[in-house]
Assembly symmetry: C2
Homo-oligomer: 364 residues x 2
């Protein structure tokens, strides 16, 4: 078999140190499961700005295109707060999404039984929580034109952004959500602000039509974004799959993941259209950011990054067994009582990034 | 003294029944405090659609302009889901905000000691919570042009909305937030998505400049909207005043109010520019919606509507003592153990809308 071609982009902050622990898992799989990987690593975000003066090089985008999958760390660094809007570290992830047409960001918010007390919500409200947010990631107000800041003749400045969604853009992401729901609890909740935004009205209509045409076995409900934020706090277990646009998805998925109390545990996948070679472009990254405040201290939780790699094994390499092995190793390590600082609780054993990584490999 | 001219707009769903309880408070103030009110009542939302075929008449907007303050119930009714975008009940509140230039929506999220257990968050996380969200309400993506749904030559449909903010629009609402913070804990957190939206970048710059020029005694911090949603769940007591745009404010203020677990308790005020007569237009409404599922059953909580009226006394009529009397009467009724269904807990006495209203008047 061909080796699996991965592009690894650790990025900024804690990215490199949590990515190092994935390296251990990869070595283990090579040695013990005979899986061949061909790994290329490169710089993105602040790290790329420092070296090359831009947040991501075209060369890196071409490497991403050629890879079977991209494993991404995180970008963002306050030291680059002064660079222009086009040069900020975040451009790296935005460009990757757009250039590879990675339109469906899958963000699970799942409460691990061992960590139910980590949440700021009452255990009864979040126990067993398992939500999948499907967020559109190449359209909406993130990318619409016109955009920018202009100065009017009288000196007033105007900032402008445009939210645009077209029928096919809405359909393809809704399709991912409906298919996802079929493998889960069979319920999709579509979220917009159709009472104030026409783009939300179109969103609702297109999702409703697609549902009637192809997915009437799935239960479909609709919710306004403000109400969804409330319902996520009031009774989050009412949700199975939530599908929504880029901006609402950004906010609601972060909210949902914080309900679990353990951001350092949550992976995500962003999938693209099926390519000529029959595969689909895909990028895997933890939900958490670059956490510059704790970077370099060896205390970051590597689990979200390792579980992102498990998602990669499952979705991009079709290695179901190996994905499961990694996920179960993580569960067992948690059950054994090891905790990084972010998920520490009384009576548990506090460990650093590399001890956690080693323990997971030992469980494998 | 001139009588205070109020326009009362009960609206849809539970609006009329909770507004009736405010009527009792008004009567009490007339009889016992010698305050003269001149009250006009009219229809808005679904109620106006049923009678006049439009969600709000120009005549009602003119009455609102002529009044010292507007006391609003709530609009929204699933029976009007089929009417066109321009006719939906929500247009009533959107038009009032825009026509009267009600640009600063003040939404407190406050946890009452007696109700700390009503939250889905752990008591330790929310006890003493007291946030004021200042939301811009006449600009942003709610009102920007171009907007609408268009069909392209190939049949594809496109939904479009435009987010626009100008320097003066940002400045005036930020000023309200800074002034508010001076009377509270002296901290403003300004929220946008400046890492993906230029309108957010301008927002941040304008707030920063105004702060440096006029409010350097207040502490100013900045936060991205996705992070703010997370921080509201993780540690909501880090906030004092939050200032943000129309769309983020819609979502984040609903989220913040749900942290309290008692939406039926929370009032809001929306203030406009100072007018020629030295007064400023103002509208007061509960945070909760029209709750059509429980309308007409006499079980809705009237407290948010009554506290909205207390805000009206304070901000529009400068009746500080009377505002305080009403607020304290509400606190005492809660301490005495009376609860409507939405805030019911073990060992308390469950009552309906009018018993709650009567009890508050008795405490006065
Ligand atoms: C880094 C930033 C541009 C990004 C976004 O807003 O999409 C991040 O918040 C995310 O959710 O992946
Ligand atoms: C009714 C609706 C148009 C309104 C809004 O979105 O502003 C409501 O949700 C609010 O927050 O007051």
């Amino acid at each position: 078999a061909q080796p699996a071609k991965l592009l690894v982009l650790p990025g900024d902050g804690i990215g490199p140190e949590v990515m190092r622990e994935v390296g251990r898992v990869i070595s283990w799989l090579e040695k013990n499961r005979g899986i061949a990987f061909e790994i290329t690593e490169d710089l993105v975000g602040g790290a790329s700005l420092a070296e090359y003066g831009e947040p991501i090089r075209n060369e890196v985008i071409e490497k991403a295109r050629a890879a079977d999958a991209v494993l991404f760390g995180s970008v963002g660094d306050p030291r680059w707060g002064h660079v222009g809007f086009d040069k900020r570290p975040e451009v790296a992830i935005l460009k990757l999404r757009q250039e590879l047409e990675l339109f469906a960001n899958l963000r699970p918010a799942k409460v691990f039984d061992a960590l139910v007390d980590a949440s700021t919500l009452k255990p009864d409200v979040v126990r067993g929580l398992d939500i999948m947010i499907v967020r559109e990631t190449v359209g909406g107000i993130y990318f619409g034109d016109p955009r920018g800041i202009e100065t009017l003749p009288d000196g007033t400045r105007r900032g402008i952004n445009t939210e645009v969604y077209t029928t096919p853009e809405i359909e393809r992401v809704a399709r991912v959500a409906f298919e996802m729901a079929r493998k889960r609890s069979g319920h999709v909740c579509s979220v917009e602000k159709c009472n104030v935004m026409e783009s939300g009205l179109l969103w609702k209509e297109v999702v409703t039509d697609l549902h009637a045409r192809e997915f009437s076995d799935v239960k479909l409900t609709h919710m306004l974004a403000d109400n969804c934020a409330m319902q996520l706090v009031r009774n989050p277990r009412q949700f199975d799959v939530i599908v929504t646009g880029n901006l609402f998805g950004d906010i609601l998925s972060d909210l949902a993941s914080m309900l679990t109390g353990s951001l350092g545990m949550l992976p995500s996948a962003t999938l693209g259209a099926v390519r000529a070679d029959g595969k689909c472009a895909a990028l895997y990254e933890p939900i958490h950011g670059s956490a510059p405040d704790i970077a370099g201290q060896g205390i970051a939780n590597p689990i979200a990054q390792i579980l992102s790699f498990a998602m990669l094994l499952r979705y991009s390499l079709n290695l179901q067994d190996e994905a499961k092995m990694v996920e179960e190793a993580v569960s067992r390590v948690l059950e054994s009582g090891l905790r990084t600082a972010d998920i520490m609780s009384e009576g548990m054993a506090r460990v650093g990034t590399s001890v956690m990584g080693e323990a997971i490999v030992r469980e494998l």
